[in-house]
């Protein structure tokens, strides 16, 4: 296991876990968020191809459409 941060909280995830797998494991709806990895957005169709590394900071931004 490696340690990352999800929305500022520490989280242990399996080594080589993809971003998509982390969301799946947490039962988070992948269609409800934009995902920010170390202060850069990751397009949704890249989530299954990018693997977590120790110390990664993940943030989930839900879409806001009001005005």
């Amino acid at each position: 296991m490696i340690s990352i941060q999800l929305n500022g909280e520490p989280l242990a995830v399996p080594e080589h876990a993809s971003l998509a797998a982390v969301l799946h494991e947490r039962r988070l709806d992948p269609n409800a968020f934009a995902l920010v990895l170390n202060a850069e957005l990751v397009p949704r169709n890249r989530w299954q191809h990018i693997r977590c590394r120790a110390g990664d900071k993940l943030e989930l931004f839900s879409a806001v459409a009001g005005g």
Partner: protein, 262 residues
């Protein structure tokens, strides 16, 4: 439409805009550029009505206001341009009348209709020949935001987009200078994104809307003045008052913006 005559700034302009002219990033040439700018504001609710006031007051030469909604009682706590006497009237029309009364040199156009894929071409056509053109997305729903994004990408128009609901606000700016790296709104939130919050279902505090509208107007001026060309998503938490910033990333497979690079 009336319009400010071209040429150098009058003595009255120097007095009126003195506080922004003092900024080297603005100066006389920047003010001339604001006079020459044309901004289309889509949505005259909480965001649009305030952004429009700031941009008109800064001396932006032309504003086009688009909104098909009428003023409702529940708008008044955050849409401060409108008052009780305006209830039931079209937002775009009332906003245009009030802005014109406050800023005689401003050229205003308004359309009391909802922006959609069918009227996008007609509504945005006047921007296409303008050197300092800009669209502000101040709308209140996801579908319209996707349409505004698509219309701007197709026409290579710069877009400053703000949104707010519950205790969260988001702001980003798409511009030709940063677009190859940033991608578009669909890269950020694809069309099948599920939304949890809107102002009408989850509520919002007036000043939280004002913060986002002020940032949107500021980003618009920064863009027109070449101070900042966007490419970041800024997220505001209205409870903690914290801001977060994330670099936008283009999705090479995005159906909306990838045609620009093919």
């Amino acid at each position: 439409m009336t319009q400010r005559p071209p040429g150098s700034l009058s003595d009255r302009d120097f007095m009126r805009y003195s506080r922004q002219l003092l900024l080297p990033e603005v100066s006389e040439s920047g003010q001339q550029r604001l006079f020459a700018a044309h901004i289309v504001i889509i949505g005259l609710g909480g965001l649009g009505q305030l952004a429009a006031q700031y941009l008109a007051a800064a001396g932006v030469g032309r504003l086009t206001l688009i909104d098909g909604d009428r003023i409702e009682l529940s708008n008044l706590p955050r849409q401060l341009l409108y008052c009780e006497a305006d209830l039931g009237l079209f937002k775009a029309e009332v906003a245009a009348n009030k802005l014109q009364a406050a800023h005689g040199g401003l050229a205003l156009r308004h359309h009391c209709l909802a922006f959609d894929a069918d009227n996008a071409g007609h509504l945005l056509a006047p921007l296409l020949a303008e050197p300092h053109a800009l669209v502000l997305d101040c709308t209140d729903n996801f579908l319209t935001r996707q349409r505004v994004n698509q219309a701007c990408i197709e026409r290579r128009l710069s877009l400053v987009s703000a949104s707010v609901a519950h205790f969260q606000g988001q702001l980003f700016c798409l511009d030709g200078r940063s677009l190859a790296a940033s991608g578009c709104y669909h890269c950020l939130f694809p069309a099948d994104t599920r939304l949890s919050q809107s102002c009408s279902t989850s509520g919002v505090l007036g000043p939280a809307v004002g913060v986002m509208a002020s940032m949107q107007a500021l980003q618009a001026l920064n863009l027109l003045l070449d101070i900042n060309d966007g490419g970041y998503l800024h997220r505001f938490d209205a409870k903690s008052l914290h801001w977060q910033h994330a670099k936008l990333t283009r999705d090479p497979d995005c159906p909306v913006c990838s045609p620009l690079w093919s």
